[in-house]
């Protein structure tokens, strides 16, 4: 039987608050949303189960009266209504249901002369989910240029560029690096933040 304190990486004498913090940090680290597009999603789910079991056990052992819910760092964007017509509505539906193959096929079938800003944006979203980050961001950039007033495309690009809170922040805080040594990096991306583009939820 694995020691639940070891699983949460806390001292046996840790306070309830310290245990809660450790639990939340681990949930953030292995959250299923983070691994949604990863080949290793099942391993992360197993890890989450282990963490939840350990937390439950510590709670029972301490006979704590506080009830808890599985903390999720996701904030869900309850379906922002970005309207789309015809073929693009179908493509968005395919993307939302995770069918990237169909989405990409439908996009490729549209002739070059008809490839507007929405086409570029949706192609970018498909490629983001595929992990083709360079090409994806290029398409999204083109979409923003073709339709500079489009809120959806601008928001998607801004979110990606302004998300400075995630990659390496905790590590740099722990190692007490003051100014980022990489020259004040200002652009970070969560690979899964594209779901915010389509109003189906984000964890940022």
């Amino acid at each position: 039987m694995t020691d639940p304190y070891k699983v949460l990486d806390v001292d046996r004498n840790a306070t309830d608050d310290e245990i809660k913090k450790a639990y939340r940090d681990l949930v953030r680290k292995y959250h299923p949303d983070k691994y949604r597009d990863s080949d290793l999603a099942d391993l992360a789910t197993e890890k989450m189960k282990e963490i939840n079991v350990a937390y439950d056990e510590i709670q029972k052992m301490r006979a704590s009266s506080s009830s808890y819910t599985h903390s999720s760092s996701s904030s869900y964007n309850q379906g922002s209504s970005y309207s789309s017509s015809g073929i693009y509505a179908n493509i968005r539906r395919a993307i939302n249901s995770g069918d990237m193959v169909s989405a990409q096929a439908m996009l490729s079938a549209i002739s070059a002369s008809e490839r507007n800003a929405e086409w570029n944006f949706l192609m970018g979203c498909v490629l983001l989910r595929k992990g083709y980050f360079i090409d994806a961001l290029n398409y999204i950039d083109i979409a923003c240029k073709m339709d500079p007033n489009n809120e959806e495309y601008r928001n998607a690009k801004n979110q990606m560029n302004n998300n400075a809170s995630n990659f390496g922040k905790e590590y740099r805080t722990e190692t007490s690096v003051g100014c980022c040594p990489c020259g004040l990096c200002s652009s970070f991306i969560c690979a899964d933040c594209c779901c915010n583009c389509l109003g189906c939820g984000n964890r940022c």
Binding site: K47, Y132, F133, G168, G183
Partner: protein
């Protein structure tokens, strides 16, 4: 292609730096033992990263001993003892470098081409030695895969498609295979994913590094075709930087699934590489600091 995966030394603990250098020295010794003295010219820190990832995934403890060598003639230094992982890395290093030379011979012109031909000639001896050794069957498998994938990459590049990721993906397939070779499947899955994103990251950074030169000499560079004649300006570079961090995010997620002892040197070195070292390398390539503080335009 080589030399991009390294630590950001100013933020490494002294003992972590000693550990890192010790593994590097161990790799050098492994190269000499397996492939002969001359193969040491292929030595790079990139493969130290691979040794560390594979060792972490398989819970392999790296032993150290004091030793002197040609690079440290005056004093003993702590050197990793040659083990299966260091030997494997030495074999991969020679084979990959050999096929990189073949690639340069096909792609490059003038002095670079001549240099590649010369190095290939030297490495051929080492490669033949590996292919006749007691690890011949493994080496032959690796050699075949590297050769075929490099050919696949060359063919893809020749299409001049407006995409960086489709070519980066092929190089990622190659590194995924090498990183996870011989590991049992539950470990191989994680290490393969790390290998894939490391390969993609290297390919993209290498293309950024060579962009100016390739454009000037009319050589292949995937960014030239992606941007279809437009300049590789700062706005595009910011997007590339974001994408590179996304690759590092994926590596982080996979590394998190390996149970690394938080206080261990191996954990400290790996985290320094992905959180500080690699971002620093890509930052200096995309936004180099020139003497008079202006950005170099492509």
């Amino acid at each position: 292609m080589f030399g991009y995966i390294k630590t950001y030394t100013p933020e490494l603990k002294i003992r972590e730096n000693e550990y890192y250098k010790g593994v590097y020295c161990g790799l050098c010794h492994a190269l000499k033992k397996r492939c002969g003295f001359i193969s040491r010219l292929t030595l790079s820190y990139d493969f130290v990263f691979m040794v560390l990832v594979r060792s972490a995934a398989t819970d392999l403890d790296i032993g150290f001993k004091n030793s002197r060598c040609i690079a440290h003639p005056l004093s003993d230094s702590s050197v990793a003892e040659i083990n299966d992982e260091l030997d494997f890395a030495a074999i991969c290093e020679v084979l990959l470098y050999y096929y990189k030379c073949m690639d340069d011979i096909a792609d490059e012109k003038g002095k670079k081409r001549l240099r590649a031909k010369f190095i290939r000639l030297i490495l051929n001896g080492s490669r033949r030695r590996i292919l006749k050794s007691e690890r011949a069957s493994e080496a032959a498998e690796l050699d075949k895969y590297i050769s075929e994938t490099m050919k696949k990459l060359y063919n893809k590049e020749s299409e001049h498609a407006p995409s960086v990721d489709t070519t980066a993906e092929i190089f990622g397939e190659l590194t995924a295979y090498i990183f996870s070779y011989g590991l049992c499947e539950d470990k191989a899955r994680i290490v393969r994913n790390i290998g894939r994103h490391i390969g993609r990251w290297i390919y993209i950074v290498d293309a950024c590094d060579d962009y100016k030169q390739d454009k000037a000499s009319n050589s292949y560079n995937p960014f030239i075709y992606l941007y279809e004649g437009e300049d590789f300006d700062d706005e595009k570079k910011l997007s590339v930087k974001t994408a590179l961090l996304a690759e590092l995010c994926e590596i982080e997620k996979s590394l998190d699934l390996i149970d690394l002892e938080k206080s261990s040197d191996i954990c400290g070195v790996l985290k320094n590489i992905i959180y500080l070292g690699m971002p620093d390398v890509s930052e200096n390539i995309l936004f180099p600091k020139s003497k008079n503080n202006t950005q170099i335009n492509s």
